[in-house]
Amino acid sequence: MITKSLYQEVILDHNRNPRNYGSLDNANRSAEGHNPLCGDHLNIKLNLSEGYINDISFQGESCAICKASASMMTANVKGKTQADAETMIQEFREMTIGKLEPNDKHHLGRLTVFFGVRDLPTRVKCAILPWHTLQAALNSVATISTEADDDPMHVSIGNA
């Protein structure tokens, strides 16, 4: 069953030992993500210069799905260009709402462990919150919420 495959070892491991967890001294962008429905919140800090994400960190309180998603996201976008990160944000979002299939061309690598979340509509927001927050940080929007009107991706998530 899909939910069984969602809590795979890689997700449990990132939940137990999150990568890039903590603050970041040389950050020049940051954003706060919040899911008022479950109280999850997360702060992302990053150093962006000459179009590259040189460093990135996250901190917060959330469920395992959200934390693992944040941990794997930071590991995957570190060192990438802003444009590459934005492609991944788009692809991750499409994967979780069922618009991107595992066999389609994508740049998500092992992030496809989150593929199963599409079958748990109430958990899609957990997986996607870090990606929202990253988008907001890249665009320097200070806080975002999964329920806010000004959330740029809110409509798409609502359709999930």
Binding site: T3, C38, G39, E61, S62, C63, A64
Partner: protein
């Protein structure tokens, strides 16, 4: 297991055949991914027994027409059945008269009706409304909207760490500005049963009317509004084995008569001209438009069903369930029970060390176990305990000790996943 055996043999439960009851609920035979459904989300909504389903089907197949409007056979039948349901609800809560029972779409609708019909007419700037920390959002937000509009103030009764209202503090909140009290009979997030009779007496001694939110009470114990002497009482059909979209507001006739209507439309008027409309008498004044007739009739069938099971037997059986569940869960390391009032219904809210409620809920679902995770529309309660959310197992009289065991081993499995 010893405890189960002794509980099953206790006099209270022997008169209560849970397997026979379960046979009445078709949905309980469901398998979720091959595992038997263990439905422990009854505080959110309960399941419906066959007699209620059958009653609604019969209405829809053989008795449906609009009510109060036509002289033909079907309209007269539908009207009579709808009113019969009102009569059943009147008896169910021991109200004095049928006209004190207003059909609403549910508890939320009923509270909004009072906030509008009573509040906007009788509560002004500087007046105070007393609510409690234990309220569901539906008994907070309508009053906040009223307060914002009128300039009235909201005062809040605090709780202790067991999840019980601090009654001395409640008494201290009263002053000459106090105009209304809204209190939940039973907390949906914690299960606490509030000492409402005492609270009503105190409010009445100061001439203050009181609304009791009974959404979580009705499926668990007998309600007698005359004995309580509350001014308003409300609950929803879907939490007591009835359908969604229906509930009642009980109000003392003398108050209902003085209140302004909530919604305008057909059925709530005596006569309409463009110069002036005069309103119908209660309860019709508050029942504008075509109501959910099938749901109202199903609601009546649901209270018949509950009465046939016997609410005193239900109360005793559920007490055994919650005692057993509380005892079993407290043996699991890393568990914090949230809400341990001396007087509580069969609701078990808890958190598990280092595991988020959402993950618990998703993983229990894999075992076929339905629980609720989140803030339960009671964020002030969550704030008191400084948690964003809890996992809540809420029991009904059709749940069994075996299902409690399934919950306990489910939680242990979740802990193993996160070890």
């Amino acid at each position: 297991m010893k405890l189960v055996e002794s509980l099953l043999k206790s006099p209270n439960t022997s008169m209560f055949d849970v397997e026979q009851i379960r046979a009445d609920f078709p949905i309980l035979k469901l398998k979720i991914d091959g595992k038997p459904l263990v439905y422990l989300d009854n505080a959110a909504s309960s399941q419906m027994p066959q007699p209620v389903i059958d009653r609604m089907t019969k209405y829809q197949t053989m008795q449906h027409a609009n009510i109060n409007r036509a002289v033909h056979y079907l309209s007269e039948t539908a009207t009579a059945e709808y009113e019969k349901s009102r009569h059943k609800l009147k008896n169910f809560i021991n109200a004095n008269e049928e006209r004190e029972i207003i059909f609403t779409s549910g508890t939320t609708d009923a509270i909004n009706l009072v906030a509008h019909g009573y509040g906007r007419k009788f509560i002004c700037s500087g007046d105070e409304i007393i609510l409690t920390t234990l309220e569901h959002h539906s008994n907070i937000v309508p009053w906040q909207m009223l307060a914002e509009e009128t300039g009235a103030k909201i005062r809040v009764v605090p709780i202790n760490d067991e999840g019980e209202l601090l009654i001395e503090e409640y008494k201290q909140l009263f002053n000459k500005h106090t105009k209304f009290v809204g209190v939940t009979h039973v907390s949906n997030a914690l299960g606490t049963i509030n000492p409402i009779k005492q609270m009503i007496e105190f409010a009445h001694a100061r001439g203050v009317p009181i609304l009791v939110d009974g959404a979580q009470t009705a499926p668990h114990m007998n309600i007698d509004v005359q004995d309580l002497d509350c001014d308003f009482y409300t609950f929803s059909g879907h939490k007591l084995c009835g359908p969604t979209g229906i509930g009642i507001l009980y109000g003392k006739a003398i108050l209902l008569e003085r209140m302004q209507p909530f919604k305008g439309g057909g059925d709530m008027i005596a006569s309409v001209t463009f110069e002036k409309t005069t309103y119908n008498t209660i309860p019709h004044k508050f029942e504008a438009g075509t109501p959910p007739i099938a749901a109202a009739i199903g609601f009546g069938a649901a209270v018949d069903y509950l009465s046939s099971v016997d609410l005193s037997a239900i109360e005793a059986y559920e007490r055994n369930l919650i005692n057993y569940a509380t005892e079993q869960i407290s043996h699991i390391p890393g568990i914090r029970i949230i809400g341990s009032a001396t007087e509580k219904v069969a609701v078990l809210s808890f958190s598990v060390d280092r595991i988020h409620p959402h993950d618990i809920g998703t993983l229990l679902n894999q075992e076929g176990i339905a629980v609720r995770t989140g803030h339960h529309c009671a964020q002030p309660v969550m704030q008191h305990y400084k948690v964003p959310a809890t996992t809540r197992a809420s029991f009904s009289f059709y749940n069994t000790m075996v299902e409690v065991d399934a919950l306990i081993s489910g939680i242990q499995k979740v802990q193993k996943v996160f070890l």
